[in-house]
C-alpha cells in the first residue's frame, strides 16, 4: 500500500514580499513499512517537505495523497483529524506539554480521538513500557532528561497507531549515546512494521536507514536504496 504519494510538490514562502522557494518540484512515493531518511544541507527544504507530508502545512503546487486521500482542499478540521489519526510527529525539541506528566502527554492524542479513560491509560502504559519508561509515567515532562523526553514524544506519536511517523532531527538535541538509544527504538519500530520518515544531519543515522533521499536546493538530488546494511 502507498502511504505517501507526492507529485511535483512545490512550496513558496513569501517573506515581506520576497518569495522563497523552499521546494521546487519534489516527487516522492513511500510505501507502507518503509524506513526513509531525508538528508541534505541546511536550507535545502527537508523540514518543509516533512511538514507537507504531515499535513502541518499545505503545498503551493503539485499533488499530495496521504493514505490514498488527496490533501489539497481538505478543511482545517479534516487535516487536523488526519494528523491525529494517521500521522505521528516527533520534533527535534520534543515539544511535550510541560505541565502534564509523561502518561498524560501520551494520553493526550488518545483523549482527543475520543478513546475512553480506561483504554487510554492502558494504552499509555503499554506505550511507555515499549519505549522503556514504564517507571517514569507519573513524572512531569520537565523532570525528564532529553532522551527520556524524546522517548515520551515517540510514545505520544504512536498513540493512535498512525500509518506514518515523521521525525525532524530527532537526535539533534541529544548526545551520541542517548541518540543511539533513540535510533535503536526507531529500528524496533521499523521491525514492527511502522512507516518511518526521519530528517537528519546525522551520518550514523542515515547510514543505518534502508532508503535515503538527498535534497539539494528544494529538489531531490538522490533517492537511493541501501542494498546492504
Amino acid at each position: 500500500m502507498t502511504v505517501v504519494l507526492g507529485q511535483d510538490l512545490t512550496k513558496v514562502y513569501s517573506l515581506n514580499g520576497r518569495q522563497v522557494a523552499a521546494l521546487r518540484g519534489v516527487s516522492l512515493t513511500i510505501a507502507a513499512g518503509e524506513y526513509l531518511a531525508i538528508t541534505g544541507p541546511s536550507g535545502s527544504g527537508k523540514s518543509t517537505l516533512l511538514q507537507l507530508l504531515g499535513g502541518l502545512d499545505s503545498p503551493t503546487g503539485g499533488r499530495l495523497e496521504l493514505m490514498g486521500r488527496r490533501v489539497e482542499g481538505l478543511s482545517d478540521d479534516e487535516l487536523t483529524d488526519l494528523r491525529l489519526r494517521q500521522v505521528g510527529f516527533i520534533f527535534q525539541r520534543f515539544h511535550l506539554m510541560s505541565v502534564l506528566t509523561a502518561r498524560e502527554n501520551v494520553e493526550l492524542p488518545l483523549a482527543e480521538a475520543g478513546v475512553g479513560r480506561r483504554e487510554r491509560s492502558e494504552r499509555a502504559a503499554e506505550l511507555l513500557a515499549y519505549v522503556g519508561l514504564a517507571d517514569r509515567a507519573d513524572h512531569r515532562a520537565t523532570q525528564l532528561s532529553g532522551g527520556e523526553m524524546q522517548r515520551v514524544a515517540i510514545a505520544r506519536a504512536l498513540a493512535n497507531r498512525p500509518a506514518l511517523i515523521l521525525a525532524d532531527e530527532p537526535t539533534g538535541e541529544l548526545d551520541a549515546a542517548t541518540g543511539a538509544q533513540i535510533l535503536e527504538l526507531f529500528d524496533r519500530l521499523h521491525q514492527d512494521g511502522v512507516t518511518l520518515v526521519v530528517v537528519t544531519h546525522d551520518e550514523h543515522l542515515a547510514a543505518r536507514v534502508p532508503r535515503r533521499v538527498h535534497l539539494l536546493d528544494g529538489r531531490i538530488d538522490r533517492d537511493e536504496l541501501a542494498t546492504a546494511r
Binding site: L56, D81, L84, R93, H95, M97, V99, E104
Partner: protein, 396 residues
C-alpha cells in the same frame, strides 16, 4: 485531561494567577455593590412603605408624608368616608406631635404618634401587648425611648403635651401605662417615639378643635384597585395629597437619581477593569505559550478544542474571581451601607445595599460572562497560529 491542562497552566504562574483572581474579585465586588445599590434602596423603601400592606398615603396638600409638620384639618369626615368605601379594607390615621416627659430633673422630648389600633400601619409589636381599640390609657414605646427613660412594660408615666398657645401652660397632661415595646417602621435610628390612641394624642397635642391628622394610611382590598381608589380619594378630597406607594417610590427614585447614575458608571468601570484584566493576562500567557498550542494543533487537536482550552482558563480565573468577589462584595456592602444609612433623619428600615439573590446572581453572571468573553481574543490568537511557522519560530 482538558482540566488538568487548564488548571496546571494556571498554577504555572501562581503569583500572576493569584493577582488576576484578586483583581477580578475586587472588580466583581465593586460590581456587586453597585448592582445592589442601584436597586436596593428603592426596593427597601418600597418594602418599608408596604411592610404592613397599606398601599395609599394621604398627606397635607402639597407635601409628602412626614415631609413637613403641616397637618390635614378636619379628618373625621374624611376617615368616615374612606371607611365607607367598599374597596378599602382598613384606614389608619396617624398624628405626629412632640411630647415631653420628666425623667429625674430633665425634660425628655419624644415624638408622639397617635394611631388607631384597629387599623395601624405604623409599627410592629416587639414585646408586651398591643393597644386595643378604645384603650385611652395605654402607651407603646420604641426601644430607644424606653432605654432613654428607663421604662419597663407596666410602668405608669405622666406625659405632657404641647403647651397651650393661649394660656402658655402645659395643661394637657395624661397619665398612661406602658403596654408594649414596638418598632416604629418609619423612625430613624435611635429615635425616641411613643404611640397612643389617635384621639388621646389629639387631646395631648391640644388640637381637638382642628381635628387634624399628619397622615392617613389606606389599605385597599385588591392590589389592582389601588390606582383607581387613589384617584377617587383625590377627586373627593381636594384638601389632601393622595399618593400610592408606587407613586411615592417614583418620587423617591427621582431624588436618588445620583446614586443610580453613580452605580451605573462604577458598575461599567468595574466590568471594563475585569475584562481588561482577563484579556491582557490571557493574551500574554497565550503568546508565551503559543508554541505549545502549535504543538497541540500539530498532534491533531482541533481548533475548537484549543479555543475551549483558553476560554476554560478564562472561565476558571473569572469564576474564582467572581466567588471571591461575592464574598468581598457582601462584606464591603455592609460597610458602605453603614456609611450611607447614617444619613441624618433616614428611617432605620431603609438600606441602600440589599443583598438579594438576584443581585448576587446578576453580578456574578455579568463578571463571568464578561471574563469568558474577554478570553475570546486570546483564544482566537491561540487557535489561529500557523502551526509550521510557529513551531519553527519556537525552535529558534
Amino acid at each position: 485531561m482538558t482540566w488538568a491542562l487548564v488548571v496546571r497552566s494556571l498554577f504555572r504562574h501562581p503569583v500572576r494567577t493569584a493577582l488576576v483572581v484578586a483583581g477580578i474579585a475586587v472588580a466583581a465586588a465593586l460590581l456587586l455593590d453597585m448592582v445592589m445599590l442601584s436597586g436596593g434602596m428603592e426596593r427597601s423603601f418600597s418594602r418599608m412603605l408596604l411592610s404592613r400592606g397599606f398601599q395609599i398615603r394621604l398627606s397635607p396638600k402639597g407635601t409628602l408624608p412626614f415631609d413637613t409638620e403641616a397637618m390635614i384639618p378636619a379628618i373625621t369626615p374624611i376617615l368616615d368616608d374612606l371607611r365607607a368605601d367598599p374597596d378599602v379594607e382598613r384606614v389608619g390615621p396617624v398624628l405626629a406631635t412632640s411630647l415631653h416627659v420628666r425623667v429625674g430633673d430633665s425634660l425628655l422630648t419624644l415624638v408622639g404618634y397617635g394611631v388607631d389600633p384597629a387599623g395601624q400601619g405604623l409599627y410592629e409589636l416587639e414585646a408586651g401587648a398591643d393597644l386595643v381599640p378604645g384603650d385611652s390609657t395605654g402607651l407603646l414605646v420604641s426601644e430607644p425611648a424606653a432605654a432613654a427613660a428607663g421604662w419597663q412594660i407596666g410602668d405608669t408615666i405622666r406625659l405632657q403635651g404641647r403647651l397651650d398657645p393661649q394660656s402658655a401652660r402645659a395643661e394637657a397632661e395624661r397619665v398612661v401605662t406602658v403596654r408594649g415595646v414596638v418598632r416604629f417602621l418609619y423612625d430613624a435610628r435611635g429615635q425616641r417615639s411613643v404611640g397612643a390612641d389617635f384621639r388621646v394624642m389629639q387631646r395631648l397635642g391640644r388640637f381637638p378643635d382642628a381635628d387634624p391628622a399628619s397622615m392617613v394610611m389606606v389599605k385597599v382590598r385588591a392590589d389592582d384597585r389601588v390606582d383607581s381608589v387613589a384617584a377617587r380619594i383625590a377627586r373627593t378630597h381636594r384638601t389632601v395629597e393622595v399618593n400610592s406607594v408606587a407613586a411615592l417610590v417614583v418620587q423617591f427614585r427621582s431624588r436618588l437619581v445620583y446614586f443610580q447614575q453613580l452605580s451605573l458608571i462604577l458598575a461599567t468601570i468595574s466590568l471594563v477593569v475585569g475584562v481588561l484584566l482577563v484579556g491582557t493576562i490571557l493574551t500574554i500567557t497565550v503568546s508565551e505559550r503559543i508554541g505549545e498550542f502549535a504543538v497541540l494543533r500539530g498532534i491533531g487537536v482541533r481548533r475548537a478544542r484549543v479555543v475551549r482550552l483558553v476560554m476554560a482558563e478564562g472561565a476558571v480565573l473569572t469564576a474564582a474571581g467572581a466567588i471571591g468577589g461575592v464574598i468581598l462584595g457582601l462584606a464591603t456592602a455592609r460597610y458602605l451601607d453603614a456609611i450611607l444609612t447614617s444619613f441624618p433623619g433616614l428611617p432605620a428600615a431603609i438600606s441602600f445595599f440589599v443583598p438579594e439573590r438576584t443581585a448576587i446572581a446578576k453580578a456574578a453572571v455579568a463578571v463571568f460572562v464578561a471574563g469568558v468573553a474577554a478570553s475570546g481574543y486570546p483564544a482566537w490568537l491561540a487557535a489561529r497560529a500557523p502551526i509550521a511557522e510557529t513551531l519553527r519560530a519556537d525552535a529558534e
